[in-house]
Every structure is written in C-alpha cells, then in structure tokens.
C-alpha cells in the first residue's frame, strides 16, 4: 500500500473504496489470510449490535482475523451484494452498506444487511471499523460458527 503523500482527497477516497471492494471480494473467496492484510496491525473493530456471546470490540489483527475466520467458515457460500460505498468528507473515512446472502454449512440460508464505517490509516489500511447488523439474523451465523458440542 502507498502512503498518502501527494494524493488528493478524491484519490484517497478512491483508494479506500477500492480496498473495501477488495475486502468483500476476499471474504467471498473465504481468503481471510489475504483479507487480514487490509487491516492495520493495531486495528480495532466495533460490533455495537453483537448478540449475546459475541464480542462487541476486537483489538489487533490476531483477534480480528480469528473472529472473521470463524464467521466465514460457517458459510458454505456467501456473497455480499452490491457494495454501496458512502465516502465521508474526511477522505480517510468511508461508510458502506452491504448485503450478505449465503448458505451456511448447516444448510440454513442466511441474509442480513450491514452498515459500517471504516477509518483508514496513512498507508491505506483499516485502522477502525464499526459494523452494524441485525443481531436476530446474525444469531444463526454465530451459532453455526461455534465448534460442534459433540452431540453427534
């Protein structure tokens, strides 16, 4: 990633939106090892509407990586619909809506609408992300991402 030097506000927004498109492309491919490289080392992710049993804050790449690796592993297949980026006046920040649709490994269908605000550092990595989703719909995904309790 290239530092911010000599970039106009519009170029910064374009770079950050391109990163978000890459972000969802990599998640769709379940390539969380490449995806985590889009995050800053000391990143923070907030999940204010997380249902019970799910952390509302993740700090640092290892925690963000582990959480999303487990989440994405719960899908047999997933897509995120048409990303709707909403850049802020501050060019280091982009809000977005996206629409996960997928089939879980359990066989259940999953659908939700997410809204997030992403803050990028000087090198174009995600430093802070705040992500909202419907917790009722997310509960099925959370349950599916948990290890089997050995009932069978």
């Amino acid at each position: 990633m290239t530092p911010n030097e000599r970039r106009t506000a519009e170029q910064l927004r374009e770079r950050n939106i391109a990163t978000l498109r890459n972000y969802f492309g990599l998640l769709r491919q379940k390539n969380t090892d490449a995806w985590i490289d889009l995050w800053a080392e000391r990143c923070v992710a907030f999940l204010p509407y997380a249902p019970e049993g799910v952390p509302r804050m993740l700090t640092g790449r290892p925690d963000v990586h582990a959480f999303h690796r487990d989440q994405i592993a719960a899908y047999r297949e997933v897509s995120f619909g048409e990303l709707a980026p909403l850049p802020l006046e501050d060019p280091s920040r982009v809000a977005a809506r996206w629409f996960p649709r997928g089939r879980l490994v359990s066989g259940a269908d999953y659908a939700n609408e997410h809204f997030g605000i992403f803050e990028f550092d000087g090198s174009g990595r995600i430093a802070v992300a705040t992500e909202f989703f419907d917790p009722a719909a997310a509960t099925a995904l959370v349950d599916a991402s948990r290890p089997s309790r050995g009932a069978v």
Partner: protein, 150 residues
C-alpha cells in the same frame, strides 16, 4: 431552466444548512413538536428502517405517513432526550451521517435507550428526501408496543 436555489449554494454552505436542519430535527423530536418537525421533510420523503421488527414498518413513503408514524411513537414518550448527537458530513454535501443515543421515559413506565446511526439525504432546498435508520432491534422490539397509540 431555472436552477433550484440549493444547487447555487457552495458545498460548505449546504453542509452547514443540513447540520442546522438536523439539530432542529432532533430538538423538535425532544419537544414532541411532530407537525413542525415534519416540515423538515420533503413531501415525497422516504425512510428505510432495515432492522424494523414487529409492527414497525421497514419502509415509510411520504411526509404524511412519516408524520403519522412519529406522532404515534412520540405519544408513547413521557420525555425524550438525546444523550449523544453527532454529525459527520459526507463527501456528497447533500448527505449526512448521524449518530444519536436516545433516552426515553415511557408513558407506561420504564426507559428506552439505543445506539442509533442514520444516513440523511437532502434535496436542493435542504429538505430531507431519504433517511436510512439503524438501531439495535433488541432494544427496540420490547418497547414498540408502548410507543404506539394504536
């Protein structure tokens, strides 16, 4: 063709005007002045509520229907205050991101609070034409019946 007045304003002035409108928007909600509040909306304004549950609609079309819905909701409040109110301008000067935390004392007793975010879009005259509101339905669902008169 005459250009609407709003399109003549520089971006910074449109942002300032829209923030003023939103300050009025939340103050009028606190005061329960829903008729005056509704004048901040364009006649064809629409609201989306993606996480709506129960009787709350996911989409409301038109200022008249929006006013009726908010009148019903406001009737359930003894008192409403916003503990947090923040606005973040967007690259598009006719759009604004807002964050707010309502604290409502309900007519039937008890309190309701939430952590809400919204995206507002304004027309050239500074009226709200579109609003997408996100709140935690886990906090809202148990209280919606208390908000509604009907």
């Amino acid at each position: 063709m005459a250009m609407p007045e709003g399109e003549m304003l520089p971006a910074a002035d449109r942002r300032a005007r829209n923030i003023d409108s939103l300050r009025r928007y939340f103050r009028l909600l606190e005061e329960g002045e829903i008729d005056e509040w509704s004048t901040l909306w364009a006649a064809e304004g629409t609201q989306l509520v993606p996480y709506a549950t129960g009787a709350l609609p996911r989409e409301i079309n038109g200022r008249d229907d929006i006013r009726v819905l908010y009148r019903n909701i406001a009737a359930g409040f003894e008192r409403l205050r916003y503990l947090v109110l923040e606005f973040q301008p967007m690259a598009d000067p006719d759009m604004m991101l807002a964050r707010w935390r309502p604290l409502c004392h309900l007519v039937g007793g008890g309190e309701y609070t939430n952590e809400s975010f919204g995206i507002f879009r304004f027309d050239a005259q500074g009226k709200i034409v579109h609003f997408v509101e996100y709140f935690n339905p886990a906090g809202f669902v148990e209280n919606y019946d208390s908000f509604s008169e009907e």
